[in-house]
């Protein structure tokens, strides 16, 4: 098992820890800066919408949360695949550490969407394809976390959860394209579309800043969680060795 590609270098936990220690403060700083700028532009400096009025500001939280919900899940599934196929211990740790972050983003997207839906649509919730598939995504995150901890043998739990993450990945394109494939109450994509964003620059900038803040926040918390998990595993390994020596 000689390191064959350059990517394998980062799969080494010790090297990863050293890299993470350098990246983490930068991610934290960038998160705080982008969050302050994004919130100022989004909540104070940007105009209201011609139809939605001030309610449009919910979008600055809702849309980046929903993007991150999908991004985190994709990451979790990719890491799970790597852990299953190549048995990289670090990939498993990354998938495990991503789950609660992704679940929080999904929860935030569901709640803010509901708060927006009541004044705009006239209802807190409908069972249309977009809303339902995102709710399923939330349950997939919860199921992943539950399954991971449901086994006495940690490696078996990790493997079962990784399979669940991979099965759930079919839901990701369904969420993304639900608004194009079927009639939904939820509006189609405003930013990522072929003929350019259908959103005025004065509203697009705060949205993109918030998206940047959410992404760097994910990197920051992910590194924090991965480091804690690696240290925790090392402590457990040392304890195990000590009990064996006695």
């Amino acid at each position: 098992m000689a390191p064959s590609s350059s990517l394998h270098r980062f799969a080494n936990p010790a090297r990863f820890l050293r890299l993470a220690a350098v990246v983490q403060p930068w991610a934290a700083g960038l998160t705080i800066a982008a969050l302050i700028a994004g919130l100022y532009l989004g909540l104070i400096a940007s105009p209201g919408d011609y139809q939605q009025g001030e309610t449009v500001r919910i979008m600055y939280i809702h849309v980046p949360s929903a993007w991150m919900a999908l991004f985190c899940y994709t990451n979790m599934a990719l890491a799970s695949a790597v852990a299953l196929i190549w048995r990289h211990p670090l990939a498993d740790v990354i998938a495990k550490a991503t789950a609660p972050i992704g679940a929080c983003f999904t929860f935030l997207a569901l709640v803010t969407g509901s708060l927006w839906g009541k004044p705009m649509w006239g209802t807190w919730w409908v069972w249309d394809a977009r809303l339902t598939s995102v709710l399923i995504l939330f349950f997939l995150y919860l199921g992943y976390m539950a399954l991971y901890n449901a086994f006495d043998d940690a490696t078996r739990g990790a493997r079962a959860a990784a399979v669940l993450a991979l099965v759930g990945v079919v839901n990701v394109p369904i969420i993304k394209f639900s608004v194009d494939w079927w009639n939904t109450l939820h509006q189609p994509a405003s930013v990522v579309k072929l003929d350019g964003p259908a959103i005025h620059p004065s509203m697009l900038w705060p949205l993109l800043l918030m998206a940047l803040a959410f992404t760097t926040y994910y990197v920051w918390v992910l590194l924090l969680r991965v480091r804690a998990e690696l240290i925790g595993r090392r402590v457990r390994a040392i304890r195990l060795r000590q009990t064996q020596v006695r």
């Binding site: 011609y50 139809q51 449009v56 006239g122 079919v170 009639n183 109450l185 509006q187």
Partner: protein, 154 residues
């Protein structure tokens, strides 16, 4: 190396099969997954609609079609997808975004050529802009009807 490749093929094949299964299921249940039908679809399947069957119709509120009856408690209007038109009767409180030219989704039953709605939801479109920009677009004549179904756009 051999076992790694085996696992890779296994995961790849599994995902492929899963994707195909999901695609088949979603295509088969398309009629229950869609949140609403367009007026064209509703008129086409008028024959199979019983007065008990609940369904949703989505489209634009036709310009100049909104009228009030029974002291304002009952609203009548027409939903259009720019090809077909369906008359709607609704007793209740309309959402704030309800107006002529706006996308709406009405839930109710089909009663002899009239849609008796029990709930009316406003459908928002994907356009976000400040009021001044909307005004300017309307003035310059570049305004596209909001909430129009995708296929109806030029």
């Amino acid at each position: 190396m051999k076992r790694k490749h085996k696992r890779l093929t296994f995961v790849g094949l599994g995902l492929l099969l899963l994707g195909a299964a999901a695609a088949l299921v979603l295509t088969a249940f398309e009629d229950s997954i869609v949140f609403f039908f367009s007026p064209t679809e509703v008129l086409a399947k008028q024959g199979e609609l019983t007065p008990q069957r609940r369904l949703r119709i989505g489209g634009l509120v036709e310009e100049g079609s909104v009228a009030k009856a029974d002291g304002g408690a009952v609203t009548t209007f027409r939903i259009t997808d720019l090809t077909a038109v369906v008359p709607v009767v609704f007793r209740g409180i309309l959402p704030d975004l309800f107006r002529e030219g706006q996308g709406v989704v009405a839930e109710g039953t089909w009663q002899n050529g009239v849609f008796q709605a029990t709930e009316v939801l406003a459908k928002h479109d994907e356009n976000y802009m400040p009021p001044e920009v909307a005004e300017a677009l309307k003035k310059s004549g570049q305004w596209q009807q909001t909430g129009a179904p995708k296929e109806a756009k030029p």
